[in-house]
């Protein structure tokens, strides 16, 4: 008998190119997707910068991993959320993003966090 899927949430908090956190986090998320769990992904704080359109890392001499967020759908990871205030503080709207997301308030995000079996920072 298969076990009931666990609710697992990843919380992206760091910008994409200044540290290894988001890159490693995304790897972790993709691997988790293979186990058919109930995965959700929240972008808040500088984490929202991960999914900004038109990022071009060619002059930095690195390949960049941001486009990989587009593959999440292929792993049935479709519960993507962004924090409303984090977007407003950065002058961003959902039109600036490379993947479809739902906009949530911090209160709603807290409620979702509390429903999880596990919450991972990245």
């Amino acid at each position: 008998m298969a076990e009931t899927p666990k609710k697992i949430m990843f919380v992206m908090q760091k910008p994409p190119h200044g540290s290894i956190y988001p890159y490693e986090g995304l790897e972790f998320i993709l691997i988790s997707g293979a186990y058919e769990q109930d995965i959700s992904l929240v972008f808040l704080g500088d984490g929202v910068y991960n999914i900004k359109k038109d990022q071009d890392t060619s002059e930095l001499g690195i390949k960049g991993f941001v486009k990989t967020y587009r593959t999440l759908e292929g792993y049935d990871i479709e519960k993507l959320y962004v924090d409303k205030k984090s977007m407003e503080d950065r002058g961003m709207t959902v039109d600036d993003l490379i993947v479809p997301v739902e906009v949530k308030t911090s209160k709603e995000i807290n409620a979702m966090m509390n429903e999880q079996h596990a919450v991972f920072p990245c």
């Binding site: 760091k14 910008p15 994409p16 190119h17 200044g18 704080g45 500088d46 910068y49 900004k52 359109k53 038109d54 990022q55 071009d56 890392t57 060619s58 002059e59 930095l60 960049g64 503080d89 950065r90 002058g91 961003m92």
Partner: protein, 97 residues
């Protein structure tokens, strides 16, 4: 003295420290995650606009492009790596962490 900032203004107090410790006319360079302060429309735009009244502010092109910052705050000078080297060669450097 050249003041450099390489951390996001949302996660670091570097910008406040520059306001406190940089003298008028001393250049300020934003690079790596520091360039998020250069984006127009963020809550830090008024602070950058205020800084630009007293100090030249530079931002590194490669880091702007990597972060899709295509419309920096008016008055910020976008420079490439050669410009970065020129600034460092011309000034003593204080890197705010």
């Amino acid at each position: 003295m050249l003041h450099t900032i390489n951390k996001s203004p949302f996660s670091s107090k570097s910008l406040d420290l520059v306001f406190e410790f940089a003298a008028a006319k001393e250049p300020v360079l934003l690079y790596e995650d520091g360039v998020y302060a250069a984006q127009s429309g963020t809550k830090f735009e008024p602070e950058i606009a205020r800084l630009l009244k007293t100090n030249p502010v530079y931002a590194l092109q490669a880091d702007l492009k990597a972060r899709a910052i295509n419309n920096p705050v008016n008055g910020i000078k976008v420079i490439n790596y050669d410009g970065f080297v020129d600034l460092v060669a011309e000034h003593k450097v204080q890197n705010w962490l």
